[in-house]
Amino acid sequence: MIAYSFTIEAVQVLILLFAAPAFAGWVKTVKCRMQGRTYAGVFQPYRDIARLFAKEVILAENASWIFRVTPYIIFGVTVMIGGIIPLISTDLPFASTADVIALVMLFAIIRFFTALAGMDIGTAFGGMGSSREMTIASLAEPAMLMAIFTVSLASRSTSLTEMVQVIGQGEFILRPSLAFALLAFIMVHLTETGRVPVDNPATHLELTMIHEAMILEYSGRHLALIEWASMMKLFIFSTLGIAVFCPWGIAPSGDFVAILVAFVLLAAKLAVLGVILVLIETGLAKMRLFRLTEYLGSAFLLATLGMLSYFILE
């Protein structure tokens, strides 16, 4: 039985590793289609990663060990997070090591090292990107935690697998608190994965970019790892949203057919989510940097309202 659940754990991590670029490619394809541009197909991110791995690494002269170690830390922590989130089954031996709060902290580790690496080389853009990233993070993290606390209140646990089981298999109740938390989570999702109203993932205009500015100096396999990790981050945030707010179909434990069904359902949910993401990105314009405090302030407000309405209305 233990071997069985470890197999599922391994399958999950493999899904994360190899489906994440496809999901990123799907989002890009839909986006291009919607904006009337030609597109390279769903599998382009795989080719990008392969190309970057084949290239040599060029290091700046004054790069310290932090700069060299960061890509591996980012990649490793991202894969670790992937082991905690129930993608297709709640039968995860690894999930008991970390709850949702630890999950947020793991994201903070990634952010911390990316920001350090951005400043390590000493270019102006790296520092600017790091400073922006930390500003935004300090506003996004409370909103994220509040949204998650609201869901934890409703499911009476901070463990992700518990939350999935309680919400997915319990009686269906209309909960305004979860709706608020979902809205807040979507806003934080767009922020954390650097999507349009906050950051533009496709930008190469130095003055507006945030995430891209920090990793400007990376090349070769380092860049490949970072790019792959940020695709996985998009995948993880999307599946986290699915696991917390739409967990129906995630297999409880031990049932092989249920896991196959869960896999198909996951693909369908992700496809729909990708389209929604693109609709949001196409419908909105990138926000002015100084308006972000208001944007993330409202995310925090929504999450707090969710928590309050749990106490008031439920």
Binding site: P176, S177, G297, L301, I312
Partner: protein, 221 residues
């Protein structure tokens, strides 16, 4: 429709009313404010109709229809016509910045939850849990009147307060007597006309609807 499900829908409506109240606090554009106000009226009307259906108090249907015609159609339309006529376009300035206002708003919601908690424990009605939201809507409307210094925005804040009071009446006692509700509705309509006349005078005298300008009215020192 079973009572528990209706209560759930009613609390969703309450949540939406609270959300629009916060939307009114944070919205900068005046047309956006009008839209949000109309939405708040719509949620209020639907919530009243649901409570009327569940409890069998039929005069609530009449007040629901009254709310829908008055607060969703008529008042926003009158205000819209006024805005068109007075040619107000610019974004509204706030006294406190918007994140600050949001935090004060959250504090007000917690405060009204504490205030209504004893009442909620004693009440046996289906709608008892929405009382805190109703009080919070009143307070948020008041906060909006305090933090904005544009006459039209203050009026919308006032009308949002009235929405809150109406919601409080529905959730605390299944609505006020019909005569009172009709009277309030008529008052609101008349008030809207009087506001219109006042707006007109303020804007012709000061060339703006910013109530800060009223400070000029005091005698020189």
């Amino acid at each position: 429709m079973p009572t528990s499900f209706a209560a759930q829908i009613n609390s969703v409506m309450a949540a939406l009313i609270l959300l629009t109240a916060f939307g009114l606090l944070t919205q900068r554009r005046i047309l956006g404010l009008l839209n949000l106000f109309a939405w708040q009226g719509l949620f209020l009307g639907v919530s009243t109709a649901i409570v009327g259906y569940v409890t069998g108090v039929h005069h609530l249907f009449i007040s629901s229809i009254l709310t829908l015609t008055l607060k969703v159609v008529l008042l926003p339309w009158i205000l819209y016509a006024l805005i068109r006529k007075l040619n107000i376009k610019k974004e509204i300035e706030t006294l406190v910045n918007i994140p600050g206002t949001m935090l004060i708003g959250i504090a007000l919601v917690i405060f009204s939850y504490h205030l209504t908690a004893p009442v909620t424990q004693l009440s046996t009605l289906v709608t008892k849990s929405t009382l805190a939201v109703a009080l919070a809507t009143v307070m948020l409307g008041l906060l909006m009147m305090v933090t904005r210094h544009h006459a039209v925005t203050q009026i919308i804040g006032f009308l949002a307060m009235e929405n809150g009071l109406f919601f409080a009446a529905t959730s605390a006692t299944y609505g006020m007597p019909m005569v009172v509700e009709l009277g309030v509705a008529l008052d609101l309509l008349i008030a809207a006309f009087i506001f219109g006349i006042f707006f007109f005078h303020i804007s012709t005298t000061f060339d703006s609807l910013d109530v800060e300008q009223m400070g000029k009215l005091k005698e020189g020192d």
